[in-house]
């Protein structure tokens, strides 16, 4: 209510944040309307392969199998965004549980969890995700999502631990304890709701990274069947013909870039209004 309204006013003043919001809103619209706005079936093999951009009937040309690049990239939007959202959901869910336990209970539990997180964070997330993918026999896109989600857990856990640590020290948490609330109640109803701001920021910024990582893994050919219209997979299929027919590579590449940019701008804007440690959000 009051709090959120003031935050929105602040958010609107930043044009980069608004640009991010517009980009992401556009992607969400494309994703929702994708069955209506495709011109061809994304898996339909047409007569002509390697058509250039702006060809008649094929705005973004066709790929090596004569499939319409525009239709594939549009049909790929809900796929790429969807698995991005789900993998962030996985990271956030487990990251919150682990981080909240470490930050709230402290002591030896915190020590153990923090050291494990530090060890895992010594590896780049993409390497961690690669390792996890290698553990799965199945190569369907769902496993890529799972791998990226799990690989992100340490990052989320650490951030949420930090937020929980800060909020736990507040007087209103002590006041709740003085009223006789249980630890479980305080963590769930007092501490975590006050960590919501940083969590939203984390998830939004994380979506950009997740989309990029998923595209990276599928580009490396680690998941997804060729008919899946996924952006990274499209790059994988088309980059070999980049010099003769660049459309099939450039278009999904631009989509990936725009989605990541949108999430990052939006996330930065949200951080300015939601994160208590940034100067703008002073109440």
């Amino acid at each position: 209510m009051g709090l959120w309204k003031r935050r929105f006013v602040k958010f609107r003043k930043s044009w980069t944040a608004m640009l991010g919001l517009i980009i992401i809103a556009a992607f969400v619209l494309i994703a929702l309307a994708s069955p209506l706005i495709v011109t061809h079936s994304p898996s339909y093999n047409g007569r002509d392969a390697y058509l250039p951009m702006w060809s008649e009937d094929h705005v973004f040309g066709t790929d090596q199998l004569g499939r319409d690049v525009y239709s594939r990239v549009v049909a790929g939007t809900p796929v790429s965004m969807g698995i991005g959202v789900l993998s962030v959901g996985i990271s956030l869910f487990f990251g919150t549980i682990i981080g909240a336990i470490a930050g709230f209970f402290g002591g030896r539990i915190d020590f153990a969890i923090s050291r494990i997180i530090e060890i895992l964070m010594a590896f780049p997330t993409i390497i961690l995700a690669l390792t996890i993918v290698a553990l799965f026999r199945d190569r369907s896109i769902g496993y890529i999502m799972l791998a990226v989600g799990i690989a992100g857990v340490p990052v989320y856990a650490r951030q949420i631990r930090a937020s929980v640590l800060v909020v736990s020290k507040e007087d209103y948490v002590l006041a709740s304890r003085a009223l006789g609330s249980s630890q479980f109640y305080r963590l769930l109803y007092v501490v975590l709701p006050n960590c919501l701001g940083p969590m939203i920021v984390l998830a939004t910024l994380g979506l950009g990274t997740a989309v990029l990582e998923i595209a990276g893994l599928t580009f490396l050919g680690l998941g997804g069947s060729p008919e899946t219209p996924e952006w990274g997979l499209m790059l994988n299929e088309n980059w070999k013909s980049y010099l003769s027919s660049p459309a099939g590579t450039i278009v999904p590449g631009v989509f990936i870039g725009l989605a990541v940019l949108g999430f990052n701008l939006l996330g930065d804007g949200l951080r300015d209004v939601l994160d208590p440690r940034s100067a703008l959000s002073k109440q």
């Binding site: 209510m1 709090l3 209103y172 002590l174 003085a178 009223l179 006789g180 919501l196």
Partner: protein, 347 residues
């Protein structure tokens, strides 16, 4: 409403019985709170900050005990460790006849209905994500006393009791002024009908005009509900007004206790005298012997030997750095801990 009035009757019966037996509602005996200082990879304890080092006092039903001292002398820690919001290192706290240290976590949560705290900072002590209903009503939710319409009705009652409009129930803390926020904090503290409240610098963060209003509110509530207060403050004028008795703390120890009137008329410990002489007086022509203390409060990490006040004391003698002074009784509950003054008074 009926259970409310019966609770009040019970309250009166209680207080009558207690006055007769003259058993203190709260009894603190040799309370010590040491915070370990950890260093190095293995978190070895290298020292202790002796925030509270052997504090004892009694508090009777309906009484207000003022606890004064400079910043960092351990006042807040005393208040919080009595409520076991900080676990004391040693010492006993008896509340309504029960030893709080012996209670299990579940029992302690139940007892918290009877003892509450009002915080200094009216900004950080209210959850910014909750409405007033949520903040005050948390007490009822946590103990499963009331929910829904019943809870709303009770919160509205409490709001009018602390002088706020019941219609503020849906507001968020940031929509209030500092004084109003503190009233919300008071409403939360009295929600469960406690018998004892720690007022931890409850008015220090407020404007002087608002301070008076809040203090009046606290006094009214005390009359009405038979509350006992531990009133922690650094402002001596405020403490004089509200307290029946005052305890002066210096570096983790109580140096002088007396009835409010006695203490202000006849301060005995040199530290108390220095504190009182620093209180501004509205009459500029009045001559006072100002005792100006030299230096800063020493670190509680390594407090001075003997009497902890001796490095800053204007009347210190050699014995003061060697021996810890005992409490000397002047009668009428007036006690102080000073070698030199005790000898002067022939005690």
């Amino acid at each position: 409403m009926t259970d409310h009035s019966s609770a009040a009757t019970l309250e009166r019966a209680h207080s009558a019985a207690d006055r007769k037996s003259d058993r203190p509602i709260l009894s603190v005996d040799d309370l010590k709170v040491y915070f370990p200082v950890k260093r190095g990879l293995l978190s070895k304890v290298v020292a202790h900050v002796k925030a509270v080092d052997g504090v004892s006092f009694d508090l009777h039903r309906g009484e207000t005990l003022g606890l004064v001292g400079e910043s960092g002398c351990g006042k807040t820690t005393v208040g919080r460790s009595i409520l076991r919001l900080i676990e004391p290192t040693s010492g006993d706290v008896y509340f309504e006849g029960e030893k709080l240290q012996d209670l299990s976590p579940a029992e302690l949560r139940e007892r918290r209905r009877r003892m509450q705290i009002i915080f200094q900072d009216p900004y950080s002590s209210l959850n910014p994500r909750m409405t007033v209903e949520g903040i005050i009503g948390e007490a009822f939710t946590v103990h499963g006393i009331a929910k829904g319409d019943e809870r709303r009705a009770r919160v509205r009652d409490l709001l009018s009791k602390v002088g706020l409009q019941p219609d503020y129930i849906n507001r968020y803390p940031h929509e209030f002024s500092g004084g109003q926020r503190q009233r919300v904090g008071i409403a939360r503290a009295i929600a469960l009908n406690p018998s004892f409240i720690v007022c931890d610098e409850a008015v220090s963060a407020l404007d002087v005009s608002i301070q008076a209003q809040v203090i009046n509110l606290l006094e009214e509530l005390q009359q009405e509900m038979g509350l006992s207060y531990l009133f922690i403050a650094h402002n001596l004028a405020v403490v004089e007004h509200i307290s029946d008795r005052v305890a002066v703390m210096y570096l983790g120890k109580i140096v002088e206790t007396a009835s409010s009137i006695d203490l202000y008329k006849n301060p005995t410990h040199p530290y108390t005298r220095a504190l009182l002489s620093a209180v501004p007086h509205p009459d500029p022509t009045r001559q006072i012997d100002r005792v100006v203390l030299q230096g800063d409060v020493p670190t509680p990490l390594n407090p001075p030997s003997g009497c902890r006040f001796h490095p800053r004391c204007p009347i210190a003698e050699s014995i003061c750095s060697e021996e810890i002074p005992r409490m000397t009784d002047l009668g009428n509950g007036h006690q102080f801990a000073c070698h030199v003054e005790a000898r002067k008074l022939g005690k």
